[in-house]
């Protein structure tokens, strides 16, 4: 764990020009969100890394939050986890960037954080509601 200091921001490009979104591709909700995000015009380049890909799980499988929380990583390995990753995804888009700042603002922050946590924790349930064809349980190995 390392907090980002001013020095590190200068060492590496800041703000990041490209973000890698590590998402759970076994979850229907996540797949739909990924699809939505890939159709949005963005300020920064977005790459989507499915957590079931061997390259991805080899690299990040040892992280405690892997496959539990959404993760956004930039080219230098600086990572945003959970609610902050959601906010970074919004920040990347042209349409929702102003919203990302508002969600970070003092008024909405706790509410938004709780919402994203709840969404992450219950994504298998939501996926089930969305109707997933490839598995009966609706969670489809989200815990792999």
């Amino acid at each position: 764990m390392l907090s980002i200091t001013q020095a590190e921001r200068i060492v590496h490009e800041w703000p990041p020009a490209r973000l890698h979104v590590v998402y759970d591709d076994q979850c229907e909700l996540c797949r739909r969100c990924r699809h939505w995000l890939s159709t949005e015009p963005t300020f920064v380049e977005l790459r989507f890394l499915a957590s079931s890909e061997p390259e991805v799980s080899q690299r990040y499988g040892n992280l405690a939050w892997f496959n539990l929380e959404l993760m956004v990583v930039d080219d230098y390995g600086r990572a945003w986890i959970g609610p902050q990753a959601f906010i970074m995804c919004l920040w990347a888009t042209r349409r929702w960037r102003p919203m990302s700042y508002r969600l970070k603002g003092t008024a909405f922050a706790p509410l938004a954080e709780r919402f994203f946590h709840t969404l992450s924790a219950n994504r298998s349930v939501v996926s089930g509601m969305l109707g997933q064809h490839r598995c009966e349980t609706g969670s489809c190995g989200g815990t792999s």
């Binding site: 390392l2 907090s3 703000p15 902050q84 906010i87 960037r97």
Partner: protein, 133 residues
């Protein structure tokens, strides 16, 4: 009549002096602000600053000149009253324009932040992502 002419002269000098002093203040302190805003293009900061100050001059001097005409001043007291009233109008309008200018600076700073830095800082450093898979 002789009072009126004296009043005009004093008003003219005061209006130009006040506008100049305020514009210089705006210019020197605004420069610091705009430099921070346009970190990567100092030319842009200087140009924006100069344009803002030019607008400030035009608005203020134009308004000061519009206020110029005064009624008859037969006594020294009347002349003084008119002069003070005109200067009051001028200062209040200068103040309003000055605060609008500051609001513009502030808004530019806000919008600058909006397009640059992410709202949240990264919390961890992990392995760099795979180049391809």
């Amino acid at each position: 009549m002789s009072y009126l002419l004296g009043t005009y002269v004093i008003y003219g000098i005061a209006a130009i002096a006040l506008t100049t002093v305020l514009a210089r203040t705006l210019y020197s302190h605004g420069a610091v602000f705009l430099d921070a805003l346009f970190e990567d293009s100092p030319g842009m900061a200087a140009a924006t600053n100069r344009l803002l100050v030019t607008g400030f001059y035009m608005l203020n001097l134009g308004y000061a000149f519009l206020l110029f005409k005064m009624g008859p001043a037969d006594t020294a007291v009347e002349a003084t009253e008119m002069l003070v009233q005109r200067l009051g109008y001028l200062l209040v309008s200068l103040g309003v324009i000055h605060f609008i200018n500051m609001a513009v600076f502030w808004k530019m700073k806000r919008s600058g932040e909006l397009t640059n830095n992410p709202p949240v800082l990264p919390s961890y450093t992990v392995a760099t992502p795979p180049a391809s898979y």
